[in-house]
């Protein structure tokens, strides 16, 4: 976890640095009472220190520091990462398609894509799992719980 800790620490530092930057624009407080910026400034500042410590630990371990965590970061498997990226892309597309197609149709399309394209199930398993899931959630949420959902041109 040496290099991964270093990079992870730096990324977290960037996050906390950005939140600290933004927090300066909030009112820190009056003379006697903390304002809306008080907690964000302190949390970001402490977070920045903690994440810099994580990065420093990682750097120290990379240089062979005594007593450091010298375990190697897990080797990332590129096909696995590809499947995750495809799944996230599919999820993002599903969110974008909800308005024009409706929630049920967009989730059904996403599940078909996930099972048939990403997971490479057989057509029967993919269609069965996707349609079965959508029918189940439709019955529970729309029929029983009466959740109003965005509907598409097909009326669901």
């Amino acid at each position: 976890m040496t290099r991964a800790n270093f990079v992870g620490g730096l990324l977290l530092s960037a996050f906390f640095g950005a939140t600290l930057w933004e927090a300066w624009s909030f009112q820190y407080g009056t003379e006697f009472a903390p304002g809306p910026g008080f907690a964000p400034v302190w949390l970001s500042a402490i977070g920045l220190c903690v994440s810099l410590l994580i990065a420093a630990h990682g750097l120290w371990a990379m240089r062979g520091g005594e007593g450091s965590d010298k375990r190697a970061a897990p080797a990332l498997e590129k096909w696995g990462l590809g499947r995750v990226a495809l799944s996230l892309l599919g999820l993002a597309a599903m969110v974008l398609l909800t308005e024009p197609l409706g929630l049920v149709a967009s989730i059904l399309l996403f599940l078909l894509y996930l099972t048939l394209v990403v997971q490479r199930h057989s057509v029967a398993v993919g269609i069965g799992a996707s349609v079965g899931t959508v029918v189940f959630v439709y019955v529970v949420f729309v029929y029983f719980l009466e959740v109003p959902i965005p509907k598409g041109p097909l009326g669901f």
Binding site: A33, F38, I54, L76, L111, L114, A129, F144
Partner: protein, 501 residues
């Protein structure tokens, strides 16, 4: 304790509807526990929206059933495939799997179910005895004590979730920052909203919890598919023999006590309880060298402890309104979604919620014993369903559920974002529970920080002016410093040993 309260609880818990929800909860919990890759936190978060049409009592009965039912289910995978269904079942793999290899899988599952039942039932008695006086005492707590308690919960969870303490702290701080998103309730100033109207009313905790706990874990399983290969064990002889009883009763008793008290501590939870119970059992055993080779007390102790701990964790949640783990944080969020005010007054303003839950846990533990003894082979057969087939089902329920909280597609996008973050943090060893707990506690913590400071004209030392808050904050500081002090002394000892050689 007023017996009328318990009677009220049983009158609620034994209605046909609540019996059905208790049964559904423990059944789903057992299945969730049996499946590696989805834990009780994810299970409770994903299924929370399904409870929206129910009364708060029924909903809490079902969600708690999932929580403690998962502790039973985790054993099945530990024994049959040497993979813990839950992190709290890790210790069970050591002797449970060895017992299965020796043809005693049935005995391992049987003693786990019976030990879990005894521990679960006794710890409900302890919950019933401990929580009401604690709540009564906590009624006098002000923002100072609450601030201190929440800080303690977050620091202990960050330091005890395993792995790096710094990573746990970073996740907790990120969660607290996410908790500040939205319009500041005291001054009306928008914070971190970036012009998005959806963020004005704070970031909902459920999309964050579902994203980190469920979608993150599922993406990890898409990245590295789980292959379950249960050993072909004959699940006969589920009832323990006289010798099994003699070997296990002490382990069950000690596991129950350790589990409950560790569960009450914020942040400690079922995993640490099972580790401690196993270590204690090994220490007091007359045959410590045989641990890890398939001794029955090696299964009885951790299984009793993890069940007792899941009940113990309900003490701070119900008595103080302060969760100590990821799952109880989701349950706290659920209470607020049902319009209840969690905290010490909950037991007096809504006694039906606490006492209905307590009574349902007695009933639920009996249901789990019945489910897990004769039906253990049926649950074992769940492991034969390829996990990849379950993935679309879990995602479908999660997405619909997240949408239904606010009827907002924006929330689905938030869950997706946190799913991606959950995947990355899973790979690099950043624990998600402190972040979710901090998102839930964040707004309460900030209020409890600013109110006393406002009243004391901006003095920070106001937090150590009362003995209870000062004492709790000192514990919190110890929780942060303890791992560093421990590692410092370990290094000094190593250096001393190396020098003496």
């Amino acid at each position: 304790m007023n017996p009328d309260h318990l009677l009220l609880g049983f009158s609620l818990a034994t209605t046909p509807v609540n019996l059905l929800f208790a049964f559904l909860g423990v059944l789903l919990g057992t299945i969730i526990g049996a499946l590696p890759g989805i834990g009780p936190s994810a299970g409770v978060a994903v299924l929370l929206p399904v409870t929206f049409g129910m009364s708060p009592v029924s909903a809490m009965i079902m969600l708690a059933g999932i929580y403690y039912g998962a502790q039973y289910g985790g054993t099945i995978t530990s024994v049959l495939i040497n993979t813990p269904g839950e992190s709290s079942s890790v210790m069970t793999t050591l002797d449970g799997y060895q017992m299965a290899l020796k043809g005693r899988a049935g005995a391992a599952l049987g003693i786990a179910a019976i030990g879990s039942f005894i521990a679960g039932t006794l710890s409900v008695v302890l919950l019933m005895v401990a929580a009401p006086p604690l709540a009564e005492w906590a009624v006098s707590f002000g923002p100072l004590e609450y601030f201190a308690l929440m800080v303690l919960g977050l620091t202990t969870l960050a330091s005890l979730t395993g792995g790096s303490m710094l990573k746990g702290l970073a996740m907790a701080l990120a969660g607290l920052l996410l908790g500040t998103v939205g319009i500041d309730l005291m001054m009306g100033e928008p914070r971190y909203t970036f012009g998005m109207v959806e963020l004005y009313d704070r970031l909902d905790f459920l999309p964050v919890a579902v994203g980190l706990f469920a979608l993150g874990e599922i993406l990890y399983n898409i990245y590295q598919p789980v292959r379950l290969e249960p050993i072909k064990a004959k699940l006969s002889g589920l009832l323990p023999t006289r010798q099994d009883w003699r070997d296990s009763w002490g382990a069950i008793a000690r596991g129950t006590v350790i589990g409950f008290f560790v569960g009450v501590l914020p942040g400690a939870g079922a995993t640490i309880a099972s580790f401690l119970a196993y270590a204690t059992e090994k220490r007091v055993s007359k045959r410590p060298e045989q641990f890890g080779t398939g001794v029955i007390e090696g299964v009885a102790a951790p299984e009793s402890a993890n069940n007792a701990a899941s009940t113990g964790a309900l003490v701070p949640l119900m008595a103080l309104g302060i969760p100590g783990s990821g799952t109880t944080a989701v349950m706290l969020g659920a209470l607020t979604l049902y319009g209840l005010q969690p905290g010490p007054l909950l037991m007096s303003t809504n006694p039906e919620v606490f006492w209905g839950l307590v009574a349902s846990m007695y009933v639920g533990n009996v249901m789990l014993l019945i489910l897990n003894l004769p039906l253990a082979p049926a649950f074992a057969s769940v492991l034969r369903i390829p996990y990849s087939v379950l993935i679309p089902i879990i995602i479908g329920i999660a997405l619909f559920g997240v949408y239904s909280v606010e009827n907002s597609i924006f929330n689905v996008g938030v869950a997706l974002l946190f799913g991606g973050i959950g995947f990355v943090t899973r790979i690099y060893g950043y624990p998600p529970a402190p972040l979710v707990l901090a998102v839930v506690l964040g707004p309460m913590l900030e209020k409890a920080l600013r109110q006393p400071m406002q009243m004391s004209l901006g003095r920070l030392d106001v937090f150590v002016t009362r003995p209870v808050s000062a004492g709790i904050l000192a514990f919190a500081l110890l929780a942060v410093l303890y791992p560093f002090v421990l590692s410092f002394f370990a290094r000094r000892r190593e250096q001393a040993l190396a020098g003496s050689r």
